[in-house]
Structure formats: structure tokens, C-alpha cells
């Protein structure tokens, strides 16, 4: 990994006419670029013990597909080469048995697909409303439930179903918009983003939807929380310095610090299974590509 330039800055943000001082001491990590095709990407994740990644890419003019990329040589293949529907927002269970993702259905509806790779079966959850959508599904560590963002009557809320796409449970019923749920590694908590108090802030709740409490409270948006494998830290994307950067906060809400510092967008953080690297989608070279950030260069406080 390239050495990091230690940039220490105090960032002033003008928000609603008021100067807000956001203090961040940070090194500016030098991410390693993993892809160079520049196609629009979103929602990557590590699979196969960190040997490969899966992500969604806008790889054809009218198609968004799931792509698996082997890290050893960068070889990319579509997960479902023959599928004509759009696929995105993938997740894979820890043991690799289940693959879930969002798939477009009857326009403009999108549905949850849970694929049991061991049994060769596929289950679906279809929103009630003809325009309802599913986004950002995540499989629970015990592989019993899938939590996701559900846009259906009742607004945009966090919900979960079992691995067969049944037994829907609504975990939030709040004003505003709820999105980007993520299970803690022990499966007891869910981090998510919600605008119930204004802008998007990070919240935590128990896996059953109880005990909702704020994790961050910055005026600009915090989104896409991702738990570290040890459950002690949460990476997220935030616009708190004016454009989207990657941040890490302790799971108790303390010690928020910035990981990236670039005028272009850094987004969609996910942890490597070793907990020492973050995978992100960045536009720092103008196009949308995957980058790997070595966290050994980032102080923990």
C-alpha cells in the first residue's frame, strides 16, 4: 500500500447560513484502484473470504448486472449471464450458501430474491404496492432473516423476511425515510440511516426493531453503515465535509473520523473480512471504480 499523506485539517462547512465546525483529524489514505472500466458501480461486497468481490454495475446501456470479480487477477463475470432483468444490491451469507439481491420485476416494482445456492432454489419477496421497491437487503449472521429497505404503503421503512421471503416484519414505522440497514456481526443490532429527525443520520436498533437510538447526528447526511467484522466500528459514507467521504465511528457513537479526503465522491464502504481494509466505490479518477483502502494507516482514534 502506498504511504499515506498525513493531512490534518479542520473543516468548515457552511450549512443553512450557519458555520458548522466539523473537527476531523485524519490521514488521507491512498486507495488502491481495483477496477479501471469506469462503469457505474454500486453496493460492492467481499465474498469467498475476501478472495473475490460482487458488485452491481451499469454494464450495458439498459442493464444493471451483478458482477463477480476475482481479486487475484481482476477477472470479471456476470453472476447471471442470461438474466435480462436488472440486478443490484447483492449480499452473500457468511458461509456462502445464500445469495440475495434486488431484481426489477414489473416496472417499476423491484423485488427481493433469495437464492439458496446449496439447494438450488430461489425465493422471492414482492412488495404489496405495484410501485413498491426493495433496496439494500442484508442477510442476518444466523441466516434466518433478510433485512432490507421496503418502500410500500406506510412509507420507506426497514423490514425483514425469512429466507423464504415470507413472514414480513416491519422494524420501523417512523416519519421520514429509513434506509441502508446492516446487521452487526453478532446479529443483535441493526445499523441504518433515517431522516426521522431531519436529514439522514445513523441509528441503531435491536434486531427486532426495538430500542432505536441515534448513532450520529451531523446536519449533513450519513448513510450506508457497514459494521467491522469485530463489531466495534461502523464505516459509513457521509457528506459532512461537503462531498461524500468515508468515515468510521465506534459502535457506541464515539470517535467519528474521516478515512478518505478527496474532492470527488467516495461511497459504498464495505469491510474486508480481515477488518483491516475497506472496499469503496470512488469517482476520484473521474469514473466510477472500486478502490481498496488499507486501514492500518488510519489511527483508531
Amino acid at each position: 500500500m502506498n504511504c499515506c499523506k498525513a493531512l490534518r485539517a479542520r473543516i468548515l462547512i457552511v450549512m443553512s447560513g450557519v458555520l458548522v465546525v466539523a473537527v476531523q483529524s485524519l490521514p488521507a489514505a491512498e486507495p488502491r484502484r481495483l477496477t479501471h472500466d469506469g462503469e457505474r458501480k454500486l453496493a460492492p461486497l467481499f465474498v469467498e473470504k475476501g478472495e473475490a468481490v460482487i458488485f452491481a454495475a451499469h454494464d450495458e446501456p439498459n442493464r444493471v448486472s451483478l458482477i463477480r470479480m476475482r481479486l487475484s487477477d481482476g477477472k470479471q463475470d456476470r453472476v447471471d449471464p442470461k438474466l435480462t432483468a436488472h440486478q443490484f444490491d447483492p449480499d452473500v451469507s457468511a458461509d456462502g450458501r445464500y445469495l440475495c439481491f434486488v431484481q426489477t420485476y414489473t416496472s417499476p416494482q423491484s423485488i427481493l430474491v433469495v437464492r439458496d445456492l446449496k439447494e438450488g432454489t430461489e425465493s422471492r419477496f414482492i412488495p404489496q404496492e405495484a410501485r413498491g421497491t426493495v433496496r439494500g437487503p442484508k442477510i442476518s449472521p444466523d441466516q434466518q432473516r433478510v433485512v432490507f429497505t421496503l418502500s410500500d404503503p406506510g412509507g420507506q421503512q426497514i423490514a425483514s423476511v425469512d429466507m423464504k421471503g415470507a413472514n414480513l416484519k416491519r422494524l420501523t414505522e417512523s416519519a421520514g425515510t429509513n434506509a441502508w440497514p446492516a446487521f452487526s456481526p453478532d446479529g443483535r443490532q441493526i445499523a441504518f440511516s433515517s431522516s426521522r429527525d431531519g436529514g439522514f443520520h445513523l441509528f441503531l436498533m435491536n434486531a427486532d426493531g426495538g430500542n432505536i437510538r441515534p448513532l450520529t447526528n451531523h446536519p449533513l447526511r450519513d448513510m450506508r453503515p457497514a459494521w467491522s467484522p469485530d463489531g466495534k466500528r461502523i464505516a459509513f459514507a457521509s457528506a459532512r465535509d461537503g462531498n461524500l467521504e468515508i468515515y468510521i465511528v465506534n459502535a457506541d457513537g464515539t470517535n467519528a473520523r474521516r478515512v478518505t479526503n478527496h474532492p470527488d465522491r467516495d461511497d459504498f464502504p464495505v469491510w474486508h473480512p480481515d477488518g483491516r481494509q475497506l472496499l469503496v466505490v470512488s469517482e476520484r479518477a473521474g469514473d466510477s471504480d472500486l478502490y481498496l483502502i488499507d486501514l492500518d494507516d488510519i489511527p483508531r482514534s
Binding site: V14, P61, R131, P219, R221, N243
Partner: protein
């Protein structure tokens, strides 16, 4: 790849000058066709040599972009925070940080209105700048006689630059799931004034599929005038009556393009530096805007860049661009917001840096906005009583916010900006003055948006 008809001629990234010149040298005829029957006259405000219309098809949410309402109730305001811009008193949402930082290059109107809440009629009304509440359709969706598109009006008023004067950058006609917007062309003036359709991919590959009737017309054949004429006649003989009318317009456009000579280089994005192409982003919308800038440089009078099927798509329902009935906030956060912020800010910077902004009027808007009240599935639907437009260059005074919407963004508090006013302002700045508009019998009843000037 630059394609003529269905014959793929070359890859834009590896284009040779020789090849382009072969086009021009082979057809030194057909002068005077298309878009040159009058010169502009009598327009006192004329500053814009060219107009770039950035068309956000589908209806972008005004509250989530250029007219945030941070103090509105939760069921209206949306999740995106308001950020200050370089323009005093004007806020955007946090989805647009680059545009906020460069807001001194443009002005924003916050009280646009349309007369219809359906995509196709509203699009037609916005482009033809008329009050026809039915968008020029009868009850069965058939055209009842459209006024000409604004681009057709401006194209007609200009002398030819060697390229068609009204060019549309899109993969196909703009519309919705029912069909195309019928006001996208010459209307009652005829297909002669329809836009010249050009497709530009995310890699900058350019093709002109509209000329598919000219299948088989290869570069080698184009060097021989007699052979070309024979080829055109051969194709013409193969057409039925219904196709003949279309043929006349296409025929003229093809010849217009082919006699353009060096101006055809405008289609070659490989002539741009890698850094410039990267700044616009590797998306169809981004590269189309870059292509639009090149066409403006080449003297094209009116370029319309269309978002969506057209330029960018994410979900099937986003074939309709900004028509985010579902997942509005997710789509805008993931996709639409960053893309618009990157491309529009880059376009304005690029035009400015090249000294082109003063002579190029850039207008960015859609057919309407989206419901301020968030719908039952946490998204936003169509809203035509109040929305936004962005104006830059071509005589527009930058760094201003024009008009004010109410506390929830539902209705204008100040004078509404009508489609007629939008059209009249663009026409005046492009040199189509009162006298000429009267002569054409177009844009009647409109007035210039004085606050923009």
C-alpha cells in the same frame, strides 16, 4: 463508433481524419437544404449563438435538488439537507455540492409551471412553449397539429453551419411507456424541421440510427456523386407511400450532414483529451453533454441533450429518467443527484473555460417537478404547478435566484414562469425577435423573463 445509417463507419476513439474528409468531399451538392430560410432579425437581446437544452425527462424533484424546504413538515421536506451556495440567499440540497460551489455561473428559476401533469403532453407543452392543454393530441393520442419545437424555430431562423441546426442527443424519441412526446419536432412545419437524432454511448461512441433508411450507403460509395444519387433513388423506389414523406426529411438531413466536411469532426470525441472526457464522466449523459459542447463549437444552433433512454437508465422505470414514483430518495442519492451534479457543473465550467458560455445559452429543466408531499410508498409523483429551471450563459445574468415557491414548494409565491415565457426568453436570446416570431406565428403571448437578464 460513428455510424451512418446502419453502416458502422468507424470507432470514434480511433477515428481518422481522412475518413471524415471523404464524407465531405464526396458531396459538394445539396446546398441550401434544411434550416436556413431566414436569418435572425430584430432581436435586441440576442447574445446566444447556440442553445443547449439539458432536458431532465421524467420530472426531477425540485425539493430534493434546487428548491429545498428544510423547515417544511417531514412529509414534505425529504431527507436531504440544505446547503448554502455561492449565491447569497440560495440553497440547494446536499446532492449538488459542485453546482452549489459554482452557482455564480448560473441562475435558478423556482417558479416554473406547466399546464399538464402527464409526461407526453407536458413535454410537448414545454418544448413548443404553448398553452395547448392537450399537448396537441386528440383523445386517442393522435397529433392535432403541433406548434414547432423551440429548436425547430431557432433552427429555421439561422443560416446553415454545415451541420443540421437542431440536433437531439438521445437514443430515441423522448416519451414515456405509452409513446413518444409528439411535440418533439417541426410539428405543423413538417418533418423538415425535426431534430437530427444522434446517439452517444457512455464510451463516446456516436451513431446516427435515424438514417437507417440509408442502409448500405458505405463510405466508398459516397465518393461518387452519381453513384450516391443512384443509391438514394434506389432506396427511394423501395419505399411505400407512407415512408416517402419521412424519406424527404431524412434525405435532406443526410445530405446536410454529409456535405458538412470538417464539421463532422464535431462528432469525434476522441479528439478531446482524456482528462476532459473523464471530467464529464463515463456515462451516456456525460459524454452526450461533451458532444453537445462540441456541436455548439461547430456552430449548431440548438442542441438538446436528453437524460434517460435516451441517455441514462438505472431501473426499467428509470427509462423515464427522473420519473421516480418509487425509491425517489435512493435513486437520487445513488445515481441521479451525483450524475447531474458532476455533468452539469462540468459542462458549465468547460463552456466558461473555453470562452463559450457567453455565447451559449444553457437551460436545464424537465417537464415538471415532483409532488412536495411524499407519497404513500415514500417517494414522489408528478407535480406541474411549481418546479425549477437552471439558466446560464447566452446573456443570462448569473448568480441569481428568480421567483419563490411557498413554504412547502407546492405553488409559486411570486409570478409563475410559464412555458411561453421560457420559450420567448430563449428565442429572444437566440435572436428570434418579436417580428420574426410573428412572421412564424409562434410563441404568441409570451414575454421575456426580465429577471434573468
Amino acid at each position: 463508433m460513428f455510424g451512418f445509417g446502419n453502416y458502422r463507419v468507424r470507432d470514434c476513439q480511433g477515428l481518422t481524419r481522412r475518413s471524415f474528409l471523404r464524407f465531405g468531399a464526396g458531396l459538394p451538392f445539396a446546398a441550401g437544404m434544411f434550416g436556413s430560410d431566414h436569418l435572425a432579425q430584430g432581436a435586441e437581446l440576442a447574445k446566444a449563438k447556440s442553445v443547449m437544452m439539458i432536458w431532465l425527462v421524467g420530472g426531477p424533484s425540485h425539493l430534493d435538488l434546487f428548491d429545498p424546504k428544510p423547515n417544511a413538515p417531514a412529509e414534505f421536506r425529504g431527507p436531504f439537507a440544505a446547503i448554502s451556495t455561492r449565491t447569497a440567499g440560495m440553497q440547494f440540497t446536499e446532492l449538488l455540492p459542485r453546482l452549489a460551489a459554482g452557482s455564480d455561473r448560473f441562475s435558478v428559476v423556482r417558479t416554473n409551471i406547466n399546464y399538464n401533469g402527464g409526461h407526453r403532453p407536458a413535454g410537448s407543452i414545454a418544448w413548443t412553449c404553448g398553452r395547448a392543454s392537450d399537448g396537441g393530441e386528440d383523445g386517442n393520442g393522435k397529433p392535432t397539429g403541433y406548434p414547432p419545437h423551440l429548436g425547430s424555430i431557432i433552427a429555421r431562423s439561422r443560416s446553415s453551419s454545415g451541420l443540421p441546426a437542431f440536433m437531439s442527443l438521445a437514443r430515441g424519441p423522448v416519451g414515456d411507456g405509452v409513446g413518444p412526446c409528439l411535440g418533439y419536432g417541426g410539428g405543423i412545419w413538417g418533418s423538415r424541421y425535426d431534430p437530427f437524432m444522434v446517439d452517444c454511448s457512455k464510451l463516446g461512441q456516436v451513431s446516427i440510427s435515424e438514417l437507417k433508411l440509408l442502409d448500405g450507403l458505405t463510405p466508398a460509395r459516397l465518393n461518387d456523386r452519381q453513384r450516391v444519387l443512384g443509391e438514394l433513388n434506389r432506396v427511394r423506389r423501395g419505399l411505400d407511400l407512407a415512408q416517402l414523406d419521412q424519406w424527404d426529411g431524412l434525405h435532406q438531413k443526410a445530405l446536410q450532414l454529409l456535405r458538412g466536411g470538417d464539421t463532422l469532426n464535431a462528432f469525434d470525441l476522441s479528439r478531446e483529451s482524456a482528462s476532459t472526457r473523464t471530467r464529464y464522466g463515463r456515462t451516456s449523459f456525460g459524454q452526450s453533454c461533451l458532444l453537445g459542447r462540441r456541436l455548439v463549437e461547430a456552430g449548431v444552433s440548438y442542441v438538446q441533450v436528453n437524460w434517460s433512454q435516451f441517455a441514462e437508465v438505472f431501473y426499467p422505470f428509470s427509462d423515464y429518467g427522473w420519473d421516480t414514483h418509487a425509491d425517489n430518495f435512493g435513486l437520487l442519492a445513488d445515481w441521479h443527484g451525483p450524475l447531474l451534479d458532476q455533468v452539469l457543473s462540468t459542462l458549465l465550467e468547460d463552456l466558461h473555460d473555453r470562452g463559450l458560455l457567453e455565447q451559449t445559452l444553457v437551460v436545464c429543466l424537465g417537464e415538471f417537478g415532483r409532488t412536495p408531499r411524499i407519497n404513500s410508498i415514500g417517494s414522489r409523483d408528478h407535480w406541474h404547478p411549481c418546479y425549477f429551471s437552471v439558466w446560464a450563459g447566452g446573456g443570462v445574468r448569473p448568480g441569481r435566484v428568480i421567483g419563490e415557491s411557498d413554504a412547502r414548494g407546492e405553488y409559486p409565491l411570486t409570478n409563475p414562469i410559464t412555458p411561453e415565457m421560457v420559450g420567448t426568453t430563449i428565442a429572444e436570446l437566440a435572436g428570434v425577435g418579436t417580428q420574426q416570431r410573428a412572421e412564424y406565428r409562434v410563441l404568441e403571448g409570451g414575454r421575456v423573463i426580465d429577471e434573468l437578464l
